[in-house]
Symmetry: C2
Subunit: 245 residues, 2 copies
Amino acid sequence: MSRFTVATQSNSHSFHLADPCDTCRARDFSACAPLDAEEQSRLTAITRTVQATPHRAIFEEGDPADNVYTLTAGAVKIYKSLPDGRRQITGFLFPGDFLGLTHNESHAYSAEALTLTRLCRFPRRRLEALLDEIPRLEQQLLRMASHELAAAQAQIMLLGRKSARERLVSFLLMLSNGAVRRGQRGDPVSLPMNRSDIGDYLGLTIETVSRTLTKLKTTGLIELLDDKQIHLAKPEALREIAEGF
Amino acid sequence: MSRFTVATQSNSHSFHLADPCDTCRARDFSACAPLDAEEQSRLTAITRTVQATPHRAIFEEGDPADNVYTLTAGAVKIYKSLPDGRRQITGFLFPGDFLGLTHNESHAYSAEALTLTRLCRFPRRRLEALLDEIPRLEQQLLRMASHELAAAQAQIMLLGRKSARERLVSFLLMLSNGAVRRGQRGDPVSLPMNRSDIGDYLGLTIETVSRTLTKLKTTGLIELLDDKQIHLAKPEALREIAEGF
DNA sequence: CGGTCCTTTGACACAGGTCAAGTAATGTGG
DNA sequence: CCACATTACTTGACCTGTGTCAAAGGACCG
């Protein structure tokens, strides 16, 4: 995985756990203690690569939490539901992201692929056993978890106090920054999810998402190349809107 | 847009790091690998007990993240702010909870005591050094972080999809459950924070908080013993409301 | 006993939700 | 290649839950 190769999304982040240094770079982690060859091979020994197709659950809220995953290609949504059908998407995951880590017996959320997706699956018991033996693995997990926690708090701020416009703009910038971090282009932001998923992520309805995007377009802040491709016409102005100025 | 407050993180338990087994029990963690006497004394060697008084910041968003804390007595709010003063409390912390863990150079949120509060302070560098030497310490942290993450997702669901009534009821039950976990009585729920903090936590205004509590009272679901003391008159009904039935 | 802070309550406004219709893109079977 | 269905997105008209603004009551305090 040389830094000089063109970043093809599929490879640059596979084996998140097995290739932590790459992950660190990609995610701006402050420190990085890569696994050595022997540790990596022990980790690899318990992983299986699996595929997930859109609209099929990877696991559902309440399912026994027997496996843990890292995403190596594609995109995934994780969400919680209320009995009457209201949904809240708590996150969109991209290559390098982690899925299913918990200390409970069952998953607290459902996970579903947005596109054709490749995952590394780790049996939880065996991964936990490895954690005891490879401290650096645990360090990586802790780093990732505290990163997730910071992201969750940003999302809490977004949902608790931002307007629809601020939410949409924050969302576009998040996607853009995420793409850049993964070595892809950040400007025409590509949305692998539909309007309904965006609404369920931002705590809005489909209609509000659509209307708000239209208004951003007519204001000249963004350009809708097509439904799922957005050009950030005035990135500075967008940044200010997202930050709440 | 005057005052909003900040921050969420859920519940932790006293001397979390110094007394992990107690923590585990209190939090229903699935496994528990307590530190041995020697490990504990090494941890204790780097801790200082400090006090925090209400309305004085423990640290602020952007401050260098030099210390990590566990709360041993009192209550703390953590919050993020937008430039125009909007605030979102991302968590209320109680004895046993953890404060300030991050992999960034600076804190992503502010922390402020609600009541007279006692904290254990760990210099971050020395704690990180210990992590390398005491794997079980890191295991505890990971457990705590993944617990926080689950709580953050519940809060995301609350903010994204629940009504004001559902939010208030969920909040009361959270406080009640938290108190029980810490070995206190869960029924007259005591609110160490004011209405403004509740609003800033639930993504509502003071007025909506007040009105909604009044309505819950006139419906007979709760009883307001005083401003900060609430009796859960119909716990089953409340539970259903919180879950979104 | 006047001031300050917190909470409650009321009247009204508005952002975003709901309901409904229309348009466009894509697929499907004949 | 064309009807036709399906799905996703947009737009409009209207409604409602919550926010905003204002005022008043209570508790606490010097």
